[in-house]
Amino acid sequence: MSARSRFAVFSVTFAAVYAAVYYFAVYYNWPLFSYGPQTGQWLALDHSASAGPTMYWYGWIATAAIAAAAVALVACSLPGNPGKRLWSGFAWLVPVCSIAAIVYMLSGYFTR
């Protein structure tokens, strides 16, 4: 498989897996790390800052990026030509579904 085809498999897999993992990371709160903006604390996983709010956004991105990169690297290393079996539309369809699920999760803000 050429480098171009491998990158196609990597990019489609990365976008799809990242979007799915990101949703679950937000829903179940799986941040790789947390940040307390008031105290400047960086904490591993989902520990709360000693004062003020705790931000998990950076940690959710890290969780999703690492998981997606690992899966995408495996996918583009598979023997044969996995690009022929992988529908490129997953690159936008899975993110659209993830966005819809996140909007539903946050719908409470719009119904108060």
């Binding site: 990158f7 990365f14 003020g52 956004w57 991105i61 990026a65 936008w92 966005i99 409470g108 719009f110």
Partner: protein, 154 residues
Amino acid sequence: MWIALVITHGLLAFLLLGAITHQVVSAWAPVRAGATNFVDRFRAVGSAHYVNAVIVLYLITATMGGILYTNYRITSRLMMEMGHYWKSVGAFEIKEHLIAIGLALLPAYWYFWQPSSDAGDLRTRKFLTTLLAFIIWWAFLAGHVANNIRGIGT
């Protein structure tokens, strides 16, 4: 420092908005012959030339937004909650998730804008660009509304 950062963030977001809007319109409704009026000229831009600019602008704007977000979280957000601006808070929450998901689209967006004659690739290119445009428009508007309610650094 926060005011300079939020103004620069807004200006870069505006450039990004212009680039992606040109691109999405020309991707869905390209002009084949010579453009004669404003709308045709808007559609007639060389879409492929915008790809690298969109990616670089997205990364810089998102990074600056990520820095500003720390200040927003302990100032503007608290004020918006106290004022019961729930829809604006919710729109901003959605914005942060959209931007995070948009980051993951960039490698595929870059790849599918490379020259290709495959119909599936061209369709994926259009949908990825449209999704990215939706994300950028939402982020711009939600950020603008939040800044109008309570500007960072004010």
